[in-house]
């Protein structure tokens, strides 16, 4: 059991550390900053206190969750297997005594942890900026609820996009189409159709 945990931990660390580096990290971190920049921009126009806070909170539903979180998780998840298959670094793991399901779980956990490092601040920092810029104070359940929603979305998107990266070379494109068409349009349909989306 200790050996299995050691193996899982090593793959998770490898995945996390490999995800958070280089140009990809800079690009995704910049993308994660967008909601904060928008709130800072709104704050600079000196709106009413409750308007500022409502804007920051409302931004989560229209931008942070469906776009920022989705894109960050997509980029990090599809890279886990697709890049390693293409440059053959996956060979270093596949010939080891770790089982294939453990490799998948380790990579999932690593990419999820990497995504949360970016997604959680992208969710909470705009609220903090709103409050520090004179917005009304949120009740404690607002940041907790939004952070929980972002984490759940990352968990769901992460599993789906990791699978996409495993089975398709066009995972990034398929993921973007899925995220921007399916996840955006299906919730607009009447009845129980919105249940078919991950974000629901």
């Amino acid at each position: 059991m200790t050996g299995e945990l050691t193996r899982l931990g090593a793959v998770t660390w490898l995945s996390l550390r490999g995800s958070l580096r280089g140009a990809r990290l800079i690009g995704l971190a910049g993308f994660a900053l967008v909601p904060s920049l928008i709130v800072a921009s709104v704050a600079s126009t000196h709106p009413a206190a409750n308007t500022l806070s409502d804007s920051a909170e409302g931004l989560f539903a229209v931008l942070t969750l469906p776009i920022v979180t989705m894109v960050i998780v997509l980029v990090l998840s599809v890279a886990q297997f697709r890049n390693e298959i293409d440059n053959e670094t996956l060979l270093y793991l596949s010939d080891r005594s770790i089982t294939r399901p453990m490799i998948v779980i380790g990579k999932y956990l690593g990419s999820l942890a990497a995504a949360l490092v970016l997604v959680v601040p992208a969710t909470l920092v705009p609220l903090l900026i709103a409050v520090l810029s004179g917005g009304t104070m949120y009740s404690a359940d607002v940041p907790v609820t939004l952070a929980a929603a972002a984490i759940l979305a990352a968990v769901a998107y992460g599993g789906f996009f990791l699978f996409l990266g495993l089975v398709s070379r066009a995972a990034l494109l398929i993921g973007l189409l899925y995220g921007f068409l399916w996840e955006e349009l299906v919730p607009l349909l009447p009845g129980s159709a919105p249940r078919l989306t991950l974000v629901f």
């Binding site: 050691t6 193996r7 793959v11 490999g18 440059n87 053959e88 010939d95 005594s97 770790i98 294939r100």
Partner: protein
């Protein structure tokens, strides 16, 4: 078959392309060379053995275990891939240590083994440098270090000398020989035949995904006799010599390869070399040199692969 690796009619397809085509061979203990040109199927075989690919048909076992299998037996196998990139953001030491951790070794044990393996391949001074700063030869050596760090019984080396400088080649070759003397079994692939010849006399030849010959190198050399054999002769009178040689029934063709040079293809090199001295003496011919273009491993391979000419 009871080798360290046994393949029985193994087939692997990539869509329409056959990577391996009913490949059948048994790799015995010690060092075995897997020899074939680029694209022959060597890397496909290694990837099947490493458990990255699954064969479409046939049976493939290593150390008695199915190649697609997983579990503790994998600790008894080390694999050094040919083209694989490295985790360039890591140091050499972290790279080897992390892969040992993936194999379930404790941190302290992994660090101790990594240090030892890196020392074995002669990279101790560079162990804390990032892999992206490694030269091609150093990258080959660190790949070898991760391959031997867990002290595997069976070591799979895919073109290990490719891109390594002459000094590095000598070092790695000596290391491979040393590993074989300490109870390790090695399968070493190469498309450069003389490299393998220097390591072992035990080879498996692969072409177009099939094992075309296997066994002792000298026995394989004997197979030449059943194939046309090329001989280059230098003489001031090529036309006269060609007229005489053309009368021999085992001579398949004669080519004027230069003003004073003949290239003769014979079905029976033994008969050719036996009769030539007598012909030279009786006809008073001036033959300045006789050179068998086939007297090396390359020629053996070309004959067996059937694509040499």
């Amino acid at each position: 078959m009871t080798g360290v690796v046994d393949a029985d009619s193994v087939t692997k397809r990539y869509g329409e392309v056959l990577g391996l085509n009913r490949f059948t061979a048994s790799f015995p203990s010690g060092i075995t060379g897997l020899v074939g040109p680029n694209g022959a199927g060597k890397s496909t075989l290694f990837r099947l053995l490493a458990g990255q690919l699954r064969s479409d048909a046939g049976s493939l076992t290593l150390l008695g275990f199915p190649a697609w299998g997983q579990g503790e037996f994998r600790r008894r196998v080390g694999y050094c891939p040919e083209h694989a990139a490295l985790f360039d953001w890591m140091t050499g030491f972290n790279f080897v240590t992390t892969l040992l951790r993936v194999d379930g070794f404790s941190r302290a044990n992994a660090q101790e083994r990594a240090g030892r393996a890196i020392e074995t391949v002669g990279l101790t001074e560079a162990r804390d440098r990032r892999l992206k700063a490694y030269s091609k030869g150093m990258r080959q050596r660190i790949k070898l270090a991760q391959c031997i760090a867990h002290d595997p019984e069976l070591i799979l080396l895919d073109e290990p000398l490719n891109g390594v400088d002459p000094v590095g080649r000598a070092t790695l070759s000596a290391l491979m020989r040393q590993l074989s003397t300490t109870g390790h079994h090695l399968i070493v692939s190469s498309h450069v035949l003389y490299e393998v010849e220097r390591l072992t006399g035990q080879i498996v030849m692969i072409s177009h995904g099939q094992a075309i010959a296997q066994g002792d190198l000298h026995r394989i050399r004997d197979l030449i006799d059943s194939h046309p054999h090329l001989v280059d002769l230098e003489t001031p009178d090529p036309r006269g010599l060609a007229r005489l040689l053309g009368a021999w029934d085992h001579v398949v063709s004669i080519e004027f390869a230069g003003p004073e040079k003949l290239r003769v293809l014979t079905r029976s090199p033994e008969a050719f070399y036996a009769a030539l001295p007598a012909l030279v003496v009786t006809e008073n011919l001036a033959v300045r040199s006789v050179h068998s273009a086939d007297d090396n491993l390359d020629a053996v391979f070309r004959y067996l692969a059937g694509g040499g000419r």
